[in-house]
Assembly symmetry: C7
Homo-oligomer: 72 residues x 7
């Protein structure tokens, strides 16, 4: 299976990531945790938007079924 997707997330813990959600929403932040559903914990999270300023959000727990991709 090569590098398993969840192992890549594990290697990214403590590091900045971009996550893209369904419906064009994106976050940038530090990946602090995840689980097998790809529920994610981001710290220092900012919501990115083409049309608005960035919105600083502190900690966010993202439900995994919204995730399109995660880029460490």
């Amino acid at each position: 299976m090569g590098k398993r997707p969840l192992d890549i997330l594990n290697n990214a813990l403590g590091n900045p990531v971009i996550i893209k959600l369904k419906g064009e929403r994106s976050f940038r932040g530090t990946l602090e945790g995840y689980d097998i559903h790809m529920n994610l914990v981001l710290d220092n999270a900012e919501e990115l938007s083409d049309t608005e300023n960035e919105k600083k959000m502190g900690t966010v727990v993202v439900r995994g079924d919204n995730v399109v991709y995660i880029s460490p």
Copy 2:
């Protein structure tokens, strides 16, 4: 797995949270409970809206599959 997403919810019990749902609906309230599906219990819940006044709702049970993110 770092900080597990449900542990973050556990730490937020009794504290104010913002939850964002699919379809642009948002709530602010006190997180009083959750389960493994991310079904949530909010107390003193208010529905937030860009276009309308806030709507005070008391207690709400949110079905987890609607959740995009939770910000403690």
Copy 3:
């Protein structure tokens, strides 16, 4: 896990609730039952609508995957 979501439903049995469904549909009625999928039984149910008069429906069984939130 604090107050579990299904316990809140259990406490609401026999009492009036508002339920909001996906697609902006809402019901008001007496919560008479539920199961672990959040399938719900309402008695004296009325469908609420911004654009039409309320529609009285007697008993309704709502499939849980339509539920956004339940407010006791």
Copy 4:
């Protein structure tokens, strides 16, 4: 759990019901069977429509994931 949703369906066997499906489709008919997924069997089913005449359909097996609610 109060009256369980599937028990309400069981009590409705042999009786007329209205079922509302996602996407505004509705049926009226006699509930002849169901299973735990809320797959349903209707007899003497008619599809209801705001814009067209009723369409008589005899027996229909409805896949449960389409169901919004069932009203006995």
Copy 5:
């Protein structure tokens, strides 16, 4: 549970059925098989359309999650 939905499908084997799919697609054909997911096998299948001529398709295997209803 009355007549179970899959039993109705079993009784319809070898007989003509109409199946309605999500997104307004319909097929007419002979039901030759099914499984517990309501995946279906139709023979002599024709795709029905309000706007186009019928399209003859021979055998089709329909994935069950597309099914709205089956009418024997």
Copy 6:
């Protein structure tokens, strides 16, 4: 259960099939494999389109939840 849907796929191995996906996408190709989720392997696959020329794609692995139907 009559002819089981996955048996029909098994009989079609090595033969040309048309597959229709959700969102009006279609492929033509040789069915080289499948699994219980209806994930499919096509060889010599061509994407069909009403509005564009056919696009030759070699081998494609299609995730089963996109499939509407498969016609051998």
Copy 7:
């Protein structure tokens, strides 16, 4: 079952692939890993777009439920 879909992914490890996601998003990159949900790891990933320039993204973890097809 012929060639199993996940075996095709296994054979593609270390090689360039195109992946098409729901909502018309596409990536090109080197397949570095996958799991049984078709969660994927791409290296040297580029997001392809008809309307914008390609966006170079390094490593991406794609959640499997977004995948339409993978072409090695």
